[in-house]
Symmetry: C2
């Protein structure tokens, strides 16, 4: 009997070409598929809630695979971890209900982008935050972030080479938090275009540093023109933070681990 | 004119054989001395507040060196960082007052040991915390930690091969903190014997897991016998957290960066 197993995976993206297979390096998906094969003997596709780019991290990526194996569903987390490198972990696994699909069933995704301010790039955030020398005006960045909330055509915040019919997305949460010399941008929505979060962050950093006016985000949203937006912020500051479905929420599960 | 420059350095000990030169790998001190040489052209000794073992980290190690170079003292931090790898940073530098010595003038040193509990070793703490599968009784560990406070002969908590005349030390702070699935042991004193913090942690983990009774710490302190204490906890969980002198405190400086 084929069952669908869904799981939460955490990874440090530093050493990977991203979630999905690329010709030039190792993908997280590839190592998960290898771990499933070594566990069950089955060649299978591990389907994620979405791709993450090269260098992007995940605190809570959701994925699923189908299997004939009879192992108790919650034991897959342990079995896969014995076959994964230390920078990829499966934190939880269970049998998915009928019709569940990690990508198509996702209702809400949250990302966090970390910026480290201050004169020197710090050691313990070197792989997970962008170090920014410029003085940043936090209030301006916060007001710019507020303009992102709601339903918009985010075409201006998409990598130019991407082909995508529908570029309208709804953003539920868009705010900066300050903790000492760290700044965190938290953004949640029903979906994100390719590079969207990194271009939003790049634009807000331009606003914070005074290279662009506060209205730049609103203008780019209205004008639908990539040229209005700022540069794409580096991948290493970005982390897939949370994914929600009708019947479960990674945040709730992680809080009970 | 020779000046003494003192500085705060932060490092990830994962890739180093410790603070001090060893035959079999790269030491943090060695890379700092090389960076000073590349900056000033002078061969000099970089003297730290104390050695850290292979794999041990520092959030705030203090060190000094002597130089004839005329560079403004606060600029050394920037100059050294351009010559250091990303996992070693100099966060601050200034001219030391007459008679200052990073080791002999230190009044107070604080270490933190991080333990990650829960079923799976997590990705983002893999190099800086010990993952502990066992269920740990937090209250027992806290009570054991209290017994460490005060002036004691810590001979039982010293690596057996160490030769040391005076093994009496005063511990000012010894407590566990819980944050989600992380447990942090904070310990501060006027000095520490070789491996002392790691043996204290090893003993308290034995107590928390029920492998030793709560009285094990007090008995080892009274008996002065290494065999009463537990195993040496792995280096990677340990971080040199704070050093204080009569005229400055790393914590105060870091809070203003």
């Amino acid at each position: 009997m084929t069952r669908r197993i869904r799981f939460i995976t955490e990874y440090d993206g530093t050493n990977y070409v991203g979630w999905q297979d690329q010709p030039n390096g190792t993908a997280v998906q590839e190592l998960l598929e290898k771990a499933v094969f070594e566990t069950t003997g089955e060649k299978t596709t591990v389907q994620g809630s979405g791709r993450t780019d090269s260098g992007v991290h995940a605190r809570a990526q959701v994925a699923h695979f189908d299997t004939e194996a009879r192992m108790a569903a919650d034991k897959f987390a342990y079995a896969l971890n014995t076959r994964l490198p230390q920078d990829i972990r499966v934190l939880w696994s269970e049998e998915a209900p009928e019709g569940f699909h990690s990508r198509f069933s996702a209702k809400y995704k949250q990302y966090r982008y970390a910026v480290q301010t201050g004169p020197h790039a710090r050691v313990f955030t070197r792989n997970n935050a962008l170090h920014c020398y410029s003085k940043l005006d936090f209030d301006k960045m916060q007001r710019a972030a507020e303009a992102v909330t709601g339903e918009h055509d985010f075409r201006a915040f998409m990598c130019k080479d991407t082909k995508m019919e529908n570029t309208v997305r709804t953003v539920y949460l868009s705010e900066w938090r300050r903790e000492g010399e760290m700044l965190y941008y938290n953004v949640a929505g029903n979906g994100f275009l390719y590079n969207m979060v990194r271009i939003l962050v790049g634009t807000m950093l331009d606003i914070g540093a005074g290279r662009k006016g506060e209205e730049a985000i609103a203008e780019a949203l209205t004008g639908c023109d990539r040229n209005f937006a700022g540069a794409t912020a580096p991948a290493k500051g970005l982390t897939l933070w949370r994914v929600r479905y009708a019947d479960f929420d990674t945040e709730e599960i992680l809080s009970k681990l």
